[in-house]
């Protein structure tokens, strides 16, 4: 005989689905807390890909939740269960990405830092084994210029099209493609360099 723990706990048990619905209906504080705790790591992982500073990433994470809670009424999904949760996470990810891009644009460093030549890139040691670890990839990403890192994240990780990237960053599509190519090239170079360092040891 199996019991679902959430039913044993009665009204105190929440799922992401019920929390999203509860938050949308009456702005329930308990639902917000559940959503925040359930999605904090997911949102923070996104913001950390765009900004190097952890404090900035924390701020962007919180701002993403503020915007999500205030706009949660606009989140419409006819689905339920896991599909709804996946849909909600995608919606939340889009908010986090937009806020991160806004943050970078506000700092006005998005384009200025692209002039870094390949020779300026630090040869930072990256531990690489058969598996790719997030920490290692983040170290490689951190060595890219911000505009290239943003385009790489948007296109390769988040799945945006070049058209969407160009609209989001207010750059031509061709520039988006060029910067993506450069970003990938640099990543490969950095990766190989890190392998050589490791092999040299």
């Amino acid at each position: 005989m199996s019991f679902n723990i959430r039913y044993l706990k009665g009204r105190h048990a929440l799922s992401l689905e019920s929390a999203v619905k509860g938050c949308a209906q009456d702005g329930d504080e308990r639902s917000k807390e559940f959503i925040y705790k359930a999605c904090y790591g997911y949102v923070r992982a996104i913001t950390l890909r765009y900004v190097k500073n952890e404090h900035d990433a924390e701020e962007l994470t919180n701002e993403s939740f503020i915007r999500a809670f205030s706009k949660i009424g606009t989140f419409n999904s006819t689905e339920s269960g896991e599909r709804l949760e996946k849909s909600f996470r995608a919606w939340l990810a889009r908010i986090a990405v937009n806020i991160s891009i806004d943050f970078l644009r506000a700092r006005k460093q998005l384009l200025a830092l692209d002039e870094v030549s390949e020779g300026d890139l630090e040869q930072q040691r990256v531990e690489v084994s058969g598996e790719l670890h997030v920490e290692d990839i983040m170290k490689l990403l951190a060595q890219l210029p911000e505009i290239q890192r943003a385009i790489f994240n948007l296109y390769e990780v988040e799945g945006y099209s070049h058209e969407e990237v160009s609209a989001l960053l207010s750059i031509p599509e061709s520039t988006s493609r060029t910067y993506l190519t450069r970003a990938k090239k640099k990543l490969r170079k950095l990766y190989l360099a890190s392998i050589n360092i490791t092999a040299g040891i």
């Binding site: 807390e33 904090y40 919180n62 997030v134 990543l187």
Partner: protein, 422 residues
């Protein structure tokens, strides 16, 4: 073929990187929700409510202060100086004086056990008759025994002073007063400064000021605007305009030249020479106070120790817009001797009653004068209420210098400015 393999390998590498990043979830940081709730939750709303409340309070206080000044500027009582000044030295009503007359008569009928000269009695009777016909105002009375020993310096009557302070200042030339711009009309420069400041909000700081202050005479209230221009990160130049009503006392060591406005020089002197025949001639001036309405324009250099703390020093230009002087007298009359009808067991000297009175002076020696007036010192602390609104508490001290310090009134004052900054 080799290039294709390399290309596939490279794409695979990028795909693996992207997939790894996509799947990654950061661990939950303990306390993150609590911090989020504290930073962006309920307290923020409380702060904004507090800002709104503080703004309303500051606006209301400023409105009250402005209204108060405007009200005080309105001429209501255009009293004749000589009539106003003709207060009863005994401070009694008509019925009391009639009773005094009857008592005097009874005293005359009875055997005069008290050694009082007949002419003195006559002069007092005249005094009573004169005062019976004149407008009288109540003044505080002090029982004879204590009053006889009371030092003159302590003979000021706060009740009378407060009443005098509320009374409309005397206007000998009403038209001239009407032609003069009011205190709030006299600030076109400041209005222009405000407009300019709004155009350059980065360098300019604006504020509304309410400043209770303390002179040697009483607690006063003032208000106005302040404008500051940031010269550098540490220094700023501040100015503005404020209007305050100050109650002033005479400076120590200043000779009292209170004019006896109540003295009727046309009163025929009767009786024997050498005896006082007029009520006012019993009076001895104990103090002169002044109530002035002043426009103060400071020019201060402010040094910011930190973002919150600053100190400033500078000078103020002062114009006296209006003045009302009040003379304070002490009279010694042995009137109760007669009131009891039988003065046989009373020592006429010991039973002398001291009566205190105040009257408006007919002169305004300070009115209309301008001075390069004060040296100002202050320290302040700024408490930000929001990104745009802040409140500063600034204790200050103003020391009169130059001609202002040589005036007979003591202008030294200090207080605290409450500045709502925008």
């Amino acid at each position: 073929m080799g290039e294709m393999k390399e290309g596939d390998h490279n794409n695979e590498l990028i795909h693996r990187m992207a997939e790894t990043l996509r799947q990654h979830i950061e661990p939950y940081r303990p306390g993150a929700w609590e911090q989020f709730k504290a930073q962006y939750g309920q307290p923020k709303r409380t702060v904004s409510a507090l800002v709104r409340y503080a703004g309303w309070v500051a606006a209301a206080m400023l409105l009250v202060v402005c209204g108060w000044f405007l009200f005080n500027q309105t001429p209501e009582n255009n009293l004749d100086t000589s009539r106003t000044a003709a207060e009863s030295p005994m401070g009694q009503s008509g019925s009391e004086l009639r009773e005094a007359k009857r008592a005097t008569q009874r005293a005359e009928e009875s055997a005069p056990a008290v050694a009082m000269p007949t002419d003195r009695k006559e002069s007092i009777r005249r005094l009573a008759l004169v005062n019976d016909q004149e407008e009288t105002v109540p003044v505080s009375r002090v029982p004879s025994a204590e009053a006889a020993e009371m030092p003159v310096a302590a003979a000021e009557t706060p009740v009378v002073e407060q009443r005098a302070a509320r009374e409309e200042p005397l206007r000998t030339d009403r038209q001239a007063q009407a032609d003069r711009p009011g205190p709030l009309e006299a600030l076109p420069m400041e209005r222009e400064a405000v407009r300019t400041a709004r155009r350059h909000t980065g360098k300019w700081d604006l504020g509304l000021v309410v400043s209770p202050s303390l002179t040697t005479e009483r607690v006063n209230m003032g208000g106005g605007i302040t404008v500051a221009y940031r010269l550098s990160e540490k220094f700023s130049l501040s100015s503005g305009a404020s209007i305050g009503e100050w109650g002033l006392a005479q400076q120590a060591g200043t000779p009292q030249y209170a004019q006896r406005a109540s003295l009727d020089v046309n009163e025929p002197v009767t009786g024997n020479a050498g005896f006082i025949t007029d009520a006012s001639q019993y009076k001895e001036v104990t103090a002169v106070t002044s109530n002035v309405l002043a426009l103060d324009i400071p020019l201060d250099l402010r040094y910011h120790f930190t973002d919150r703390f600053y100190t400033s020093a500078g000078i103020s230009f002062v114009t006296i817009l209006n003045e009302q002087r009040t003379n304070h007298f002490i009279d010694r009359i042995n009137q109760p001797t007669f009131g009891e009808g039988n003065s046989s067991h009373k020592d006429p000297v010991a039973s002398t009653q001291a009566v205190y009175s105040s009257e408006r002076a007919g002169v305004q020696p300070l009115e209309g004068k301008g001075y390069a007036g004060f040296v100002n010192f202050s320290v302040g602390r700024t408490v930000p209420l929001s990104r745009r609104v802040s409140i500063s508490l600034e204790p200050y001290f103003k020391l009169p210098v130059g001609r202002l310090s040589r005036e007979d009134m003591d202008f030294t004052n200090g207080g605290i400015r409450i500045i709502t900054g925008f």
